[in-house]
């Protein structure tokens, strides 16, 4: 009886604090992440220049393929991250899995190409790979902000997985933005540097994000 009275009292205190809340809207956050990606893309190409084939209006096939896969990886993973903010038993956050499988084809194809004599990696200077890593990571950090803010407002039940996915999503969007400058179309280059960048972002997400979103 004492316990029921205590609980009634606690409930009254919670009720007094009630303010109207707006349910989390994944669509708004996806749009925000897309806008940040476009702004970052504009900044990157204004600093480093845009790809020659785009300027000529004849984009290379690998560029188009890379853009599609990275966009799919970034947005599908971001959607899964944001779905994790609204938990529910029986809910599945699997949209990112197929996109990741598609993206992994690049490193795998790169290994095959390397084994068959592709010199794309050695043709490109190390500084270009590091630039890919730097610009993509900075963009990734910016796109991760609205995701982390949403996760903090929400109730993610698996902070570690949310961390991994935030890293993959922001890494995908970061590399997508840099892709519009990147002048290299080698499969090996794409597999190594783009793959490394997404992997670094994923590890950073796993290490940093869970500490920010625990509840």
């Amino acid at each position: 009886m004492m316990k029921m009275t205590q609980r009634s009292f606690d409930i009254a205190a919670l009720v007094d604090e009630l303010e109207p809340v707006k349910p989390i809207s994944p669509r708004n956050i996806i749009v925000t992440a897309a806008i940040i990606t476009m702004v970052a893309l504009a900044i990157i190409v204004s600093i480093t220049g845009v790809r020659a084939d785009l300027l000529a209006g004849k984009p290379e096939a690998l560029f188009l393929l890379r853009s599609g896969i990275l966009g799919l990886l970034g947005f599908a993973s971001a959607y899964s991250v944001l779905a994790m903010a609204s938990p529910s038993v029986g809910k599945h956050h699997s949209s990112w899995q197929m996109a990741l499988v598609g993206a992994i084809l690049f490193p795998l194809a790169g290994i095959v190409a390397l084994a068959t004599g592709d010199t794309g990696l050695t043709d490109a200077p190390l500084s270009s790979g590091l630039a890919c890593l730097f610009y993509s990571a900075v963009t990734a950090a910016a796109t991760a902000i609205p995701m982390v803010v949403t996760l903090r407002k929400g109730a993610p039940t698996s902070p570690e997985r949310a961390g991994w996915l935030t890293g993959v999503a922001s890494g995908g969007l970061g590399t997508l933005a840099y892709n519009f400058h990147c002048p290299y179309d080698s499969l090996v280059y794409t597999g190594v540097w783009y793959g490394c960048t997404v992997a670094v972002c994923a590890v950073a997400g796993r290490l940093i994000v869970p500490k920010l979103i625990r509840w």
Binding site: D10, P87, S88, V89, G90, K91, G154, A155, T157
Partner: protein
């Protein structure tokens, strides 16, 4: 269960718009539901604390409820998260056994079975589930658990650690 789900969902929608009367009813009903949900899954004298913790989480995370989805699976996900979190905290239950007289009506139907804590434990390997059940739910010491299960002390600890980690990953699974 269906009418309960519908009425709770409606109350939650009103609560998100700031309706204090609906919110009060919702929390009271959710508190009762949670008491049954946690029965047998934690020491009886810890149930009220855990229910209050969960209601506090519900209060802080109101915006995480998507009004287009059912309410009870959302509440169950939060309840499971708080339960696993509580299991992580090392404690030694004073009582030697659980009170098996606690009423559990309303949790035996199909929906209740899908979101119950039992469902979560069944997804663990038997040795991990048993180690967690004995040490964290029934409050036995590691030594007592070793004697009951035949596992070594280090194996019990590893099973508890791995089991809790797996439970965290399974919180939203049916």
């Amino acid at each position: 269960m269906k009418s309960n789900e519908e009425s709770l969902r409606q109350l939650m929608r009103l609560a998100q718009r700031g309706d204090k009367s609906a919110y009060s009813t919702l929390l009271t009903e959710a508190g009762r539901w949670l008491s049954r949900f946690y029965a047998h899954k934690i020491a009886p004298d810890a149930v009220d604390d855990l229910v209050q913790d969960t209601l506090m989480s519900v209060h802080r995370k109101l915006s995480s409820y998507d009004p287009s989805r059912p309410f009870l699976p959302w509440l169950a996900a939060i309840a499971r998260y708080r339960w696993v979190d509580r299991l992580r905290q090392t404690y030694k239950h004073q009582a030697s056994a659980l009170d098996f007289d606690v009423a559990t009506e309303g949790h035996e139907d199909v929906v209740g079975a899908k979101i119950s804590i039992d469902r979560l434990l069944f997804q663990l390997p038997e040795n991990q589930a048993e180690a967690i059940r004995l040490t964290k739910i029934e409050g036995h010491s590691v030594a007592e658990t070793c004697a009951r299960t035949g596992q070594s002390e280090s194996l019990v600890k590893v099973n508890v650690h791995r089991g809790l980690k797996k439970l965290t990953a399974l919180i939203e699974s049916e």
